[in-house]
């Protein structure tokens, strides 16, 4: 949100009265801008101490799409209209002077680098030091925001009287070596190549050079005498330098984006046309494109559109007449009249200063602001809906509470971690292959999205070394893994993990926690070779994260699918819920939205993804899933995480248990 600094005395003079800070804050609040700071007290303090002080400023935060409020001219104009002190101004084209309509001819070569241009002339302008500063500041603000640091649009302003009085301005693209001029505030003539070198380390201009630097041709604007007006988007020529005393101002803009070009020229010229001797009048320039197309810039014409009275009333909950709404909209700067022919229609003129008005709802919003958000009748929606947790969150909460009740402390580490923490620190160099890698992290701490909960928990253990032993911590949250078949190419997986740290490894402690969670979920411990249709077991593994001989994998055999509820031979009580899908259900999670051609249920997608991610075992039934692991952490893992005491750890995937969770099948 841009912040603008406005001279307080000047603004209040324009508004015709003094405001207390509270009164002005209230006015800003209703209008939708935010008074961030009134420096009056600071200034008075400084004067008391005999320190140098500026004039009191109001620092105001402006919504990012209101380019018309980036200067005192625009804010005071909008507030005066809002306060009904004046009507929205009409921006008028000034007839060409004796030298005739000025032309800016765009040559075809510019298409290679910066194809659009437009220009305007302000006549008989009288700047004061503060209005001149405001003029420069508005250009800086536009360059920084809408113009994306001059990439999209660059503005050049000139003393018109120093340029050729007749003939065409040309907007060309030439080889850097063929452009020769004295840049603004310099004394030495240089060519385009030299200019790039000259400004390479310039704190202000250096950051714009890249926009054209490597192009074979540079954009340049000449007057008919061959004088360089500017080399956009870098710098103007010194010849046409604008000064406080300048009375006729030539404004040119060049751009890569035609819409933003028009907005920028409209804003600059309309804002400062108030200083022209003929207030709000602007002399247009004829722009001729290489294809012969001619355009008068700036356009100045308000955009005519319509809005429905019924729509505005329906959205705001009001029942205002067309005339009443017209009045509200006019206060917001949109000159509006009820349509003489259609009773539900308003004729709205969107001035060139309001490019933020894109659709009817923008007009509705302005009507609501004009009425006052805080004066609207407050009602309560009558929509009747049923509350429902997201099933995996509900399952996860059940497990979290069980573990906390068993005496473990929940931790909440960051989800992003370094590549090392997620792989080599855990002796799992291959873990990065399924990880999501960030392209532009600011620090090494955020290189990948974790594929295991262990790094975060182990970092928490490390930071709590001073804690008395044993330390028993856990987390139930998401990891992310690549999933090439999904639209988003990755999916989350809900895991639970715990770490026990004490003077000895204590495998049985995390093992006991696993058993406790399984009891809570109603999943029995079974023999893997038995024909028992449903349950879990652990088996020794050689997982390198763990100490040899003290590592095991966790296996889960889900209940066989029953086609009809109640007929399952194993049905634990929780698993009897139906698998039918509620017709009013929420869509499947976007994570599992496959290509649009086919839309299987979300659960199927999750299951399919699980099946591919977790290969089934050779022995046992084909349903058996490896869901996680536990063990005493390998000393090299402890060393990598700078932990001095033995730890045992447990981590497993919770998603296979969704099927037996109480809300199974009733996704949302």
């Amino acid at each position: 949100m841009p912040s603008v600094h406005i001279d307080k005395a000047d603004l209040f003079e324009r508004l015709g009265r003094q405001y207390t800070t509270e009164e002005f804050d209230e006015l800003c609040f209703e209008f939708g801008i935010e008074l961030d700071e009134d420096t009056t007290a600071d200034v008075e303090e400084a004067i008391k101490k005999g320190l140098p002080a500026e004039r009191p400023q109001l620092k105001i935060d402006i919504p990012a799409n209101r380019y018309d409020l980036l200067c005192i001219e625009g804010i005071s104009r909008a507030l005066r209209i809002f306060l009904e002190q004046r009507q929205p101004p009409v921006y008028k084209p000034l007839p060409p002077k004796e030298e005739g309509r000025r032309v800016l001819r765009i040559l075809p070569e510019t298409a290679q680098i910066r194809p659009y241009a437009a220009a305007a002339i302000l006549r008989n302008v009288h700047f004061t030091p503060r209005s001149y500063a405001s003029f420069i500041d508005l250009q800086d603000k536009l360059h920084a925001n809408l113009c994306r640091r001059r990439e999209f649009v660059a503005i050049g302003t000139h003393d018109y009287d120093t340029l050729a009085r007749s003939g065409d301005f040309t907007y060309e693209a030439r080889k850097p070596e063929d452009i020769n001029f004295v840049p603004l505030n310099q004394t030495k003539k240089m060519n385009g190549r030299e200019l790039m070198e000259f400004y390479e380390n310039d704190k202000h201009l250096g950051r714009y050079l890249h926009i054209v630097c490597d192009s074979p041709v540079y954009p340049v604007i000449y007057d008919s005498n061959g004088i360089v007006a500017s080399l956009p988007p870098i710098i103007n020529g010194d010849h046409s330098k604008i000064r406080l005393e300048t009375t006729n101002v030539f404004i040119e803009c060049t751009a890569t984006d035609e819409t933003k070009l028009a907005i920028v020229l409209d804003i600059i010229s309309s804002m400062f046309s108030e200083y022209a001797s003929d207030e709000f009048s602007i002399e247009q320039v004829e722009v001729i494109y290489p294809n012969g197309e001619k355009r008068l810039t700036p356009s100045l014409e308000p955009r005519l559109t319509t809005a429905r009275v019924s729509y505005i009333n329906a959205c705001t909950g009001l029942s205002l007449s067309p005339a009443e709404i017209s009045k509200l909209l006019t206060r917001m700067g949109l000159s509006t009249t009820p349509s003489p022919t259609a009773p539900d229609e308003l004729l709205v003129q969107v001035p060139v200063t309001r490019p933020d008005i894109l659709h009817e709802c923008d007009i509705m919003e302005d009507a609501a602001i004009g009425y006052g958000f805080n004066k609207l009748p407050r009602t309560f929606p009558s929509s009747n809906t049923v509350a429902q947790p997201f099933p995996i969150n509900k399952l996860s909460d059940i497990v979290r509470r069980e573990i906390a009740m068993a005496g473990w402390v929940e931790v909440l580490p960051l989800i992003l971690c370094s590549r090392d923490e997620n792989s080599t620190f855990l002796n799992q160099p291959g873990a990065l292959e399924e990880a999501v890698h960030l392209a532009n992290p600011k620090t090494l701490e955020y290189q990948v999205v974790r594929t295991s909960l262990l790094p975060g928990i182990l970092k928490t253990v490390r930071e709590n070394r001073a804690h008395s032993l044993p330390l028993k911590v856990f987390e139930s949250s998401d990891v992310a893994r690549r999933a090439p078949d999904l639209e988003r190419r990755a999916r989350n997986e809900r895991r639970v993990a715990a770490v026990y740290s004490d003077k000895r490894g204590a495998f049985e402690v995390v093992h006991g926690l696993l058993d406790r969670v399984m009891v809570a979920l109603g999943i029995p411990l079974i023999d893997k070779d038995s024909k028992t249709p449903y349950g879990y077991w652990i088996a020794e593994s050689n997982n390198p994260t763990y100490f040899p001989g003290r590592a095991a994998d966790i296996f889960y055999r889900p209940p066989p699918k029953s086609t009809t509820s109640g007929e399952s031979d194993v049905a634990p009580s929780a698993a009897t819920s139906k698998t039918t899908t509620d017709s009013a259900s929420l869509p499947p999670p976007p994570s599992s939205t496959p290509a649009p051609a086919s839309k299987p249920s979300a659960l199927d997608t999750v299951k399919d993804a699980l099946a591919s991610a977790l290969p089934t075992l050779a022995s046992g039934t084909s349903r058996d899933l490896k869901i996680g692991h536990l063990g005493i952490l390998h000393p090299s893992v402890l060393e990598a995480f700078e932990i001095k005491t033995p730890c045992s750890a447990l981590e497993f995937n919770l998603e296979p248990f969704l099927e037996i969770a109480p809300d199974h099948g009733r996704r949302a």
Binding site: C315, D397, Y446, R488, L586, P589
Partner: protein, 463 residues
């Protein structure tokens, strides 16, 4: 000698009290154990421990008294044995006319630097010595060095009687660093209501053995200190932030909301931005604000018809909008990123609701509370990850008044009852409101949220 044990002292105190005609001990320093008097200052803490234990049994009552005494410093002790500096200077010199006097340098070599410096001045002031040329001689045949009896008295009694100078002289000794103050404790003791000469062993807690044997019936229990802190429990705990999340979830559930499937950190620019009408040139999409993904880097295709509609509205407008009229890049839309807001999920959910076969059928209230990611430089007030709370109400005929009225109920459940609403800007909602609540503690309005109805085919309200 090791201090006597508490038991020994307790027995001594009780027996002394029993045999005392006044049934009291006026000064604990007079207690005698095995012929020794317990008058050393280091004895008193042990006596106090014994007294406190007896008092807790109400066998005795005691008061403590503090006295201030003086003890000699090292220098004080030295002067006590060898005399004052001035006396030593006088003693070193011959009587006038009975020999050659000593120079300052000679005195220094004989008596040392300090004695010479202090003693010479004082002796001269007392007119004990006189100067002959550059040498000193005795001026009087005899002197009285009054410091010795003063120091001796302080050493033996800890104080000075008036005739030896009293408090004034003591203050002078302190100033001269010859003596320092020392606080000493002693106690006066009287019998208590439970007085006896034998200390009964008191039980601290009721035990299973006592229940089995019935000993609890006769046992005497030590008084419990109710002012002490309890023992800390060793239970587990849920994370505080997630407890707050639960509070918020419960409010949503109370109001009939359904939780959205936000278990998706990786999003496409299309769902995170484009479908929400965030222009492709918006600053939020720049590298310094958003985490983009290197691998995998490119999203798959969303519904092509929907994609085409979104692109059309951005580039050229449609559905009553004039659009941004800026170029729309398909490649930009397909860039993968870590979601910067959970609204990416909301937009996908609304799309699904709107595109369901049979069309819109009933109202929906959706919410989520989940992690979002921003490419922030981490400091005290910024994290690259945080939780976002989001709610959506979608129905026909909702109004802005409904949204504001709803917010009043929602925030009242959190104790925020004084709200006001400021117009704001969001690329994807119209109108957009910032909610301010009056904070009684801070005495000012505080921004607490951002609400906005989404400009979709139906009037949705979201925040």
């Amino acid at each position: 000698m090791a201090p006597p044990s508490t038991e020994t002292l307790q027995s001594l105190i009780l027996n002394t009290l029993a045999s005392s005609p006044s049934s009291s001990i006026p000064d604990s320093r007079a207690l005698q154990l095995d012929g020794c008097t317990l008058d050393a200052p280091e004895d008193q803490p042990a006596v106090q421990a014994a007294l406190a234990s007896l008092q807790s049994r109400e066998m005795i009552a005691y008061k403590h008294h503090e006295t201030i005494t003086h003890v000699l410093t090292e220098e004080g002790s030295l002067l006590r044995s060898s005399g004052s500096h001035e006396a030593r200077v006088w003693g070193a010199l011959p009587l006038e006319g009975e020999g050659e006097g000593l120079s300052v340098a000679e005195l220094k070599s004989k008596l040392g630097e300090e004695t010479t410096k202090i003693g010479q001045g004082r002796a001269f002031k007392n007119k004990w010595i006189a100067k002959k040329g550059d040498k000193f001689v005795k001026a009087v045949p005899q002197i009285t060095d009054s410091i010795i009896p003063v120091l001796s008295t302080v050493a033996s009694t800890g104080t000075l009687p008036k005739e030896l100078g009293g408090d004034k002289e003591l203050a002078d000794l302190r100033k001269r660093k010859l003596a320092v103050q020392k606080k000493t404790l002693h106690f006066s003791v009287e019998k208590g209501p439970e007085f006896a000469t034998e200390v009964k062993q008191l039980e601290t807690d009721l035990t299973a053995d006592m229940l089995a044997s019935g000993a609890w019936k006769t046992a005497q229990f030590k008084k419990y200190n109710f002012a002490a802190a309890g023992a800390p429990p060793n239970g587990g705990a849920l994370h505080p932030l997630l407890k707050v999340r639960e509070e918020f979830r419960n409010i949503f559930f109370e109001m009939g909301f359904r939780e959205m499937p936000t278990n998706q950190f990786v999003e496409s620019s299309f769902w995170c931005f484009d479908s929400l009408f965030v222009p492709q040139q918006h600053v939020a999409r720049e590298m310094q604000d958003t985490f983009y993904i290197k691998e995998p880097s490119t999203a798959g295709d969303p519904d092509p018809a929907y994609f085409a509609r979104v692109k059309e509205v951005h580039e050229k407008g449609g559905f009553g909008s004039i659009g941004y009229r800026a170029p729309f890049s398909d490649a930009e839309a397909k860039k993968l990123l870590l979601r910067t807001h959970t609204t990416a999920i909301s937009s996908a959910c609304l799309y699904e609701l709107a595109s369901r076969a049979g069309g819109w059928d009933k109202p929906a209230k959706l919410f989520s509370i989940d992690r979002v990611f921003r490419n922030e430089a981490v400091d005290m007030t910024h994290l690259a990850e945080f939780h976002q709370v989001e709610g959506v109400v979608a129905d026909r005929n909702l109004t802005l008044g409904d949204l504001i009225g709803f917010m009043e109920v929602f925030f009242a459940k959190m104790g925020m009852t004084k709200l006001r609403f400021k117009p704001a800007y969001n690329p994807y909602t119209e109108p957009s409101l910032e909610i301010f609540a009056y904070h009684n503690g801070l005495g000012k309005w505080v921004e607490i949220g951002n609400v906005r109805p989404l400009p979709f085919p139906l009037f949705d309200i979201a925040w």
